[in-house]
């Protein structure tokens, strides 16, 4: 069983034959991963190098926190794809319910962006108040506002 794991450009072909060995780009490594209490916290040992990694699945790709660095890893494999599709269909894992990026849990304080308006990257679209601070959600790129589905007070 082989997977292709890619992190911004770089790709690794990772194969599994037996329980405690893996093949990365044709090179064999002794590797073991074990859960260590946290639901997504693992102890990884590869060729005696010990790492503690926090791995979260997010729509089919993995958010890996390693030594304070965040890596977004996309893993190609049918199983993952299926799970990903299923998850997209089905809603919100417990730890995603309150991801603040969806404005719902905060109070909508203001919506400067109006329907049809042209916005540049960095323009303020929505201002959400949460945890006593106002958080300005800005445009990721130049665009046109198709619709504003929220209004102040929501």
């Amino acid at each position: 069983m082989t997977y292709v794991a890619s992190i911004d450009g770089e790709s690794f072909h990772i194969g599994f034959d037996d329980a405690d060995e893996i093949i990365v780009d044709k090179k064999h490594h002794a590797a073991s991963i074990e859960s260590t209490g946290g639901p997504s916290l693992y102890s990884l040992i590869v060729d005696n190098s010990s790492y503690e990694v926090h791995v979260e699945e997010r729509e089919g790709s993995y958010r890996v926190l390693l030594l304070g660095q965040l890596y977004d890893v996309h893993v190609e494999d049918e199983g993952t794809r299926r799970a990903a599709k299923a998850r997209r269909a089905h809603k919100a894992e417990p730890d995603e319910v309150v991801v603040i990026r969806s404005p719902i849990p905060g109070l909508i304080f203001d919506v400067p962006a109006k329907q049809g308006q042209q916005v540049k990257q960095g323009d303020i679209l929505v201002i959400v108040e949460a945890m006593k601070m106002e958080n300005e959600l800005r445009a990721p790129r130049d665009a046109t506002v198709k619709a504003t589905l929220v209004s102040p007070g929501d």
Binding site: P39, L41, Y71, A86, V98, R101
Partner: protein, 500 residues
């Protein structure tokens, strides 16, 4: 000394105060909103009273409810912590009127210093330099415009009461002014229950250095040393240290003296913090005085050996300070990282949810002041500060290395935190050499991703192995998978079952 104390706060600071009370053998009373039924401060207190729904305006900010609880529970003192009602003279008065000791300064000196605009006047009178700005509240937008023109841009819109960087906005141009004023007012209103604001010149490239003072009711006032708080984002302090690298002995002495002089001028008692701005040429200006316990007080406790909260209780009960300025000897170096439920990889947006995994750093020289535990829900309603990680070292170097070690050990699962941000700060050259000012984080710092290929490979392997395991142990139904994902023990069990 008091017999029973009510703590009118929540989160890590309520726990901090409860610990001090317990270590003095005092009975304790906590108050809580619906969101905090199982919060640490409720569990640690001897008694706990429910005071309303989650929004602070209906619970932690309700003077009448808190005074009522204090009377019912027959406490003899109230500790306000920081934030909420800590700098509200009306609350201090209400305590006095109810015959309760308020653990803080008198309402009078609180009013004098708590009103930032008035404080600027007093400071000027004592001869401490202040920055150009208004020495009174701004009435309306018109006045704001006018004053802004005089001061010039960039400038700061600041809440007239409260502190902690809440209700503060930077304004670079006249166009930004109206929104900034409105935003600052709202934030000040919702945080401190008072929307008054004033304007002040913004000095770029300056450091934020504050002096901790402590006074008893017998006219004794000492300085417990300074704190370097220049590492900020959106006027929120992120990492503090004591002492400050920016001061030589002479300048340090002058700052301490200025702080004590200001405190004496208003017959100040209990703890207070005088905040100064230090510009590139080492000129200092009075910013404001916080008439309460400070979030970052642990760094001062670590270098001074003084338990500030216990001494707050002692002096509030009428005891004289046990030491003079000469008796105090600062020892070593301390750092504090504010751990907030914010995602540093996504614009520091707040992150809420249930803490599903928690491993706190321990061992030599490490101190954690936390308001969370595994299973606690970090809610939207309150400040994102969930914990403070402090370390002590013989030298700044040892403290930094220890902080790195402690940050690497800290694991908080379930909400995103700014721990990775702190890890990168304490590894950043400018921080290590002390070359930073209040604009550093926002203007000269960005989250890095090292491209060490071995780390990339390790990350890829971790993701692939987790994916592989998910695939092998997939039992088909999604519900099942999700139940499992939310359950660390089953997961652990499953790993073991897979064996080696």
């Amino acid at each position: 000394m008091f017999k029973k104390v009510l703590v009118a706060n929540r989160g890590e600071i309520a726990v901090r105060v409860l610990r001090a009370c317990r270590e003095l053998g005092l009975s304790t009373v906590a108050v809580y909103s619906d969101a905090d039924r199982t919060a640490l401060h409720v569990r640690y207190a001897d008694q706990a009273y429910h005071i309303g729904p989650p929004p602070a305006t209906q619970s932690y900010l309700c003077i009448d409810k808190i005074i009522a609880v204090a009377k019912e529970a027959e406490v003899d003192a109230i500790h306000p912590g920081y934030g909420f009602l800590a700098e509200n003279p009306a609350f201090a008065r209400a305590c006095r009127d109810a015959g309760l000791a308020f653990i803080g300064p008198s309402p009078e000196s609180m009013e004098l210093m708590g009103d930032k605009a008035a404080a600027r006047r007093t400071s000027a009178q004592v001869g401490i330099p202040i920055l150009p700005g208004t020495d009174h509240e701004i009435e309306d937008e018109e006045e704001a415009k006018a004053v802004a023109e005089q001061i010039g841009f960039p400038l700061l819109v600041k809440a007239a009461v409260g502190g902690g960087g809440k209700g503060m906005r930077t304004v670079h141009s006249p166009e930004e002014l109206p929104f900034a004023v409105m935003a600052a007012r709202r934030e000040a209103q919702s945080t401190f229950g008072d929307g008054a604001i004033y304007l002040e010149q913004l000095v770029e490239g300056a450091r934020h250095i504050e002096v901790q003072i402590l006074g008893d009711q017998h006219g004794n006032i000492v300085s417990l040393g300074e704190r370097e708080c220049s590492l900020q984002r959106r006027h929120q302090k992120l990492l503090e240290e004591s002492p400050s690298m920016a001061l030589d002995e002479k300048l340090r002495a002058r700052l301490w003296e200025a702080a004590i002089a200001l405190a004496q001028a208003v017959d100040y008692t209990n703890v207070g913090t005088v905040e100064f701005l230090l510009d590139k040429d080492k000129n200092f200006y009075f910013l404001e005085m916080n008439t309460r316990l400070q979030v970052e007080h642990p760094v001062t406790e670590l270098v001074s050996g003084v338990d500030i909260v216990k001494d707050q209780l002692r002096v509030a009960s009428g005891r004289a300070l046990r030491y003079s300025q000469e008796d105090l000897r600062m020892n070593g170096w301390a750092l504090e990282c504010r751990i907030c439920a914010e995602d540093p990889y996504d614009g520091f947006l707040p992150s809420t949810g249930s803490i599903t995994g928690l491993q706190e750093p321990t061992g030599p020289g490490v101190r954690v002041d936390s308001g969370i535990y595994e299973g606690f829900d970090v809610s939207l309603y309150y400040d994102p500060l969930i914990s403070k990680l402090s370390v002590w070292g013989e030298t700044r170097g040892e403290a930094i290395l220890r902080m790195r070690r402690a940050l690497e050990e800290y694991r908080i699962i379930g909400v995103k935190t700014n721990i990775p941000f702190h890890q990168q700060i304490v590894n950043h050259t400018e921080f290590i050499y002390g070359q930073f000012d209040t604009s550093f984080v926002e203007s000269r710092f960005a989250m890095q991703q090292s491209n060490g290929r071995d780390l990339l490979e390790a990350a890829a392997i971790a993701a692939a192995m987790v994916a592989h395991d998910k695939r092998r142990s997939s039992v088909g139904t999604l519900e099942h998978q999700e139940a499992r994902a939310s359950n660390s023990w089953r997961m652990a069990g499953r790993w073991e079952a897979m064996g080696r």
